[in-house]
């Protein structure tokens, strides 16, 4: 497992931020990272049945002053906007939400298109989103995201997408 961990850049970036917990609901693009987090001895991974729960779990950790990472798909975050608003934004909780922003130009599944449009219409006006290529992002992405969130005193969303001409970095 340790060898596999060194091969997953997102996992390494999460671990470098030294979170006290990671929580999520799987998406194909996050599956390997989630399995590595679940196997980690450095922090617990809480597998939630529903994405809104993830925002609650992260809020509980952040209320105690601890770092928490959420991993969900864009449709899952759309299911969680009430929790993001009334917990993360209302209490000013600096947790990091990693979102796979499906429905990109290089990711044209018919069932993903409206999710992406709803993400743009619903999430971007209410929370800070930083966009990255899922196959090409800096190693210090998640530590940097925490630094931003802690300075801003609010959650931050890291949106990962497949990009044309890129390596992919996605399983499904």
């Amino acid at each position: 497992m340790a060898q596999a961990a060194t091969d997953d850049r997102l996992y390494r970036s999460i671990a470098a931020a030294k979170p006290k917990l990671v929580t999520g609901v799987p998406d194909g693009m996050l599956a390997q990272t989630i399995m590595l987090c679940a196997a980690s001895d450095d922090f617990p991974y809480i597998a939630c049945a529903r994405e809104e729960e993830c925002i609650g779990v992260a809020s509980g950790a952040a209320m105690a002053g601890e770092r928490a990472v959420v991993m969900v798909q864009n449709a899952g975050l759309l299911n969680s906007l009430g929790a993001l608003a009334t917990m993360g934004l209302r209490y000013g909780l600096p947790f990091v939400v990693i979102v796979t922003n499906r429905g990109a130009l290089a990711d044209p599944n018919g069932y993903d298109i409206e999710k992406r449009e709803a993400f743009d219409a619903g999430v971007r006006p209410m929370a800070r989103v930083f966009d990255f290529d899922a196959a090409d992002f800096p190693d210090d992405l998640i530590p940097a995201a925490f630094k931003w969130a802690e300075a801003a005193r609010k959650p931050v969303i890291i949106a990962l997408e497949k990009r044309l001409g890129s390596g992919g970095g996605a399983a499904a």
């Binding site: 006290k20 917990l21 929580t23 617990p44 809480i46 597998a47 939630c48 049945a49 529903r50 809104e52 729960e53 993830c54 925002i55 609650g56 779990v57 992260a58 809020s59 509980g60 950790a61 952040a62 209320m63 105690a64 002053g65 601890e66 928490a68 009430g82 929790a83 009334t86 917990m87 209302r90 209490y91 000013g92 909780l93």
Partner: protein, 186 residues
């Protein structure tokens, strides 16, 4: 006249089962109001999130404070909105998390409109998730018995609907956060 306890008294009775004050995470509305009414404590976390999220918030807190006991306080209407959190808690197996379900069969903060779960057997629901020994009625509990019950566990309390809403919290989100943050680091 109902013989059932008030929600405030049920919350106070559940907190009294612990040898020392647990963290108490209450859902928005009635549960937060009655928790404060039962006695404000810096270890109270009054959740302002969507109804039902207290169980999830409590799970996150329990994960980062494994040496402290955590009690989530949910109403029947609230828990029905986040019933999946019980499945998540079963999977996460926190050894320091319990749930107090206060069942008054109405949405107390919303003109006491009846809840869709008013005919539901919450004891059976809790036992389906946590097991027969880990889901008990508040009226059957003593501190000694509660101490011997493995977590995660659930307490079911039938409570009387209140004639009026609880008093307002009188705390801003920043006040709640800072006070709780300090208590959670102590």
């Amino acid at each position: 006249m109902s013989n059932l306890p008030s929600q405030q008294d049920a919350i106070a009775a559940a907190l009294a089962l612990y040898p020392s004050r647990p963290f108490a995470v209450s859902d928005i509305g009635s549960q937060s109001g009655w928790l404060k009414g039962a006695g404000h404590d810096a270890r109270n976390l009054y959740v302002s999130g969507p109804m039902g999220l207290a169980t999830s918030v409590a799970l996150g807190l329990a994960a980062v404070r494994p040496n402290d006991q955590v009690l989530a306080i949910a109403g029947d209407g609230a828990l029905a909105m986040n019933l999946t959190s019980l499945a998540t808690i079963v999977g996460a197996k926190p050894r320091n998390l319990s749930i107090l379900l206060v069942d008054n069969r109405v949405y107390e903060f919303t003109a006491s409109v009846p809840t869709p779960t008013r005919e539901m057997d919450w004891l059976a629901v809790g036992r389906a998730f946590f097991g027969a020994d880990q889901c008990v009625r508040l009226s059957d509990l003593t501190a000694e018995r509660w101490a011997g019950i493995a977590r995660p566990a659930m307490i079911v309390a039938d409570v009387a609907p209140a004639p009026a809403k609880p008093p307002a919290l009188g705390m801003t989100p920043a006040m709640i956060r800072m006070e709780f943050l300090k208590a959670s680091k102590a």
